[in-house]
Amino acid sequence: MAAGAAWAAADLFDVEDALAFASQQTSANVATQTRALTPAQADVVSALTSRILPAVDGRPGAAQAGALSFIDRALATFNAAQRPLYTDGIADLNRRAQAKVSGAAGFTSLTSGQQDEVIREIEATPFFQAVRLDTIVGTFALPSWGGNRDYTGWHLLGLEHQMTFQPPFGYYDADVNRRN
């Protein structure tokens, strides 16, 4: 059927519009001040996110993506129910840090190797599982949720955020798509 051609052409959401829209979406709102966590708690959570998803091989990690901003904003809004879990978990982490290294002020004063040792003690706890999930979401959810600053998390995965691609897409289809 030829139906729709004239109608659709007049009102089409075209490629340029889509690209402009996509670029608007990249402006992340990064919290400069935490709302749910105290500055000291935020430092601990930030350190945790860095150990869960560290920057490696020249790629950014959760800290560069601003996962903390997502976590804090979520705890201040739709994830408020988990604030006690976070508060208690952070306190526990600081106690464990002090027990491990005498004189340590808390988790953030440990070396990353020591932090990993403490994390291994609590790996199975609901607190760590929650922080792990929130770190992943804060790194990879759209910037409008508060993290994944400038799509840094997607860069970590090698994902370019574009509204249009053309073949070839990957290594294995390069030959066949270049032929076509």
Binding site: M1, V15, I136, L156, G158, G170
Partner: protein, 552 residues
Amino acid sequence: MAPQSRPSARFRPNDLVDFVIVGSGAAGGIIAKELSTAGHTVVVLEQGPRLTERQFDHDEFGTFMRGHNINDPATQPHTFRPTPQQPAKQRQVLVYGRLVGGSNAHFTGNFWRMRPSDFNEASRLGGIRGTGLADWPVTYEELEPYYTKAEWELGVSGEPGPFDPPRSRPYPMPPLPVKSSGVLFERGARALGLHPQPSQMAINSRTYNGRPACQHCGFCLIFMCEFRAKSTSMAVMLPIAEATGRCEIRPNSYVAQVELGSDGRATGVTYFDAEKRMQRQRAKAVVLSANGSETPRLLLNSASSRFPQGLANSSGMVGKHLMFNTYFEVNAQFEQPLNEYKSVQNTRMVLDFYETDPKRGFYGGGGIDARFGRYPITFALEGLPRDAPTWGEGFARELGRQFPRTMAFGCHGTSLPLETNSITLDPTLKDAWGLPCIRTTYTDHPDDLKNAAFLGGHATDIAHAAGALKVWAAPVVAQTLAVHLLGTCRMGNEPRTSVVDRYHRTHDVRNLFICDGSSMVTSSRGQPTETISALAFRAGEHIADFAKRGEI
């Protein structure tokens, strides 16, 4: 006829329109278009909002974890129990699109015809004890013109495969460009003597009827297409219906009941508007296309003294024979980047295992396709093999290395219709509108799980033959999450054992019609949308004819 850009119709609830259609998805949109272009006045009631392309996004967190654009467990909770003997617990098991366009608006685009063999399996196999396996009241030959209509009016890309059923016209568009997953899949499948073929997708491979070709952004599965390159009811059918000046799409309209007059005829529906005020839309006839969970719920919630066990339910079959289809994945990593995050979900598949083969010792069949099925969050949560690190340097390194190098082999299989697998009303739980909620009872038939494991074994073989460095799969277990909601108001010639007749008219109420996934008698091989679309084109045509002849 090209739609004119005249404003769409606006009716008042008190206006007596020819048809009220509940639901605007794959079936509702097509029937609205068929009835309005045939000259009838139509109101389409949709519980979700109406979104424009500018409001679409690629928000994985919002969609998968915050319930954006899908049925919302906070306001529409439902309960689940594996068997009738177990207590039902609140849990999100059923997922459907909640917006103008329905689940069809966010579907992946797979568009498979069923085969002649699908329509008479019960008589060919001699039935299967303990199941409700039945023949369809229509044949493939009767439905073929409507499959063709669906492919041409909506717009489908593909080419016939070696096992395809007879078709009266070729595909309107050539296949989409192959992805790396498709190339590898084809390599592996051919090495095993299988017959890989391009995936048949309701996505444009070139400009079609004024809509552009796919731009390969990669967000088809559970997202709406900003470019209108996905050939959905929302993008194609609803605009034509509205352009007739006889069809109104009314969003944010949550239907409560189908109303029945003292003469036993439907008089319209009651619904809650956006402000939760009760409204009543009068209509000469009612069409339910609300999906395989909400359609039976609506009938059960419309019980009356005349129909104490639910409207149009003298057979007792409303809500029964729920089928989910089985879906399992085999995952594989390759040496070089595939970049599966680009373009459509899948570009190659095999249908060699489509038919039931009694030699296997179980009912069922299906298809296997090359896909990815992950977005960034889901990949980080479940995209690495089980022995991969879950945090730390190793985790970060593996995510970065494997995201571009991973693909999945999707196994789409049959579900047997069982009376115990059902949609009923929860005896106590109410939704935010005060209506009884859905209670789902579901356990896969053992044959369904055997078939899923069988397909998974072949998918594993294909992955190895394709040269994967690592292949793994989650175990095949009973399904507790469903996006295909089928079979709950099945078609049939016999009023004692089916809800609608071969023209989708309910056996019990002359001016009440049902067409959606609930009409399906068997489950398809895991891709029901084209069959639902073909049924809707056929139902729309017949219902319009009945109206013309005064037979409603």
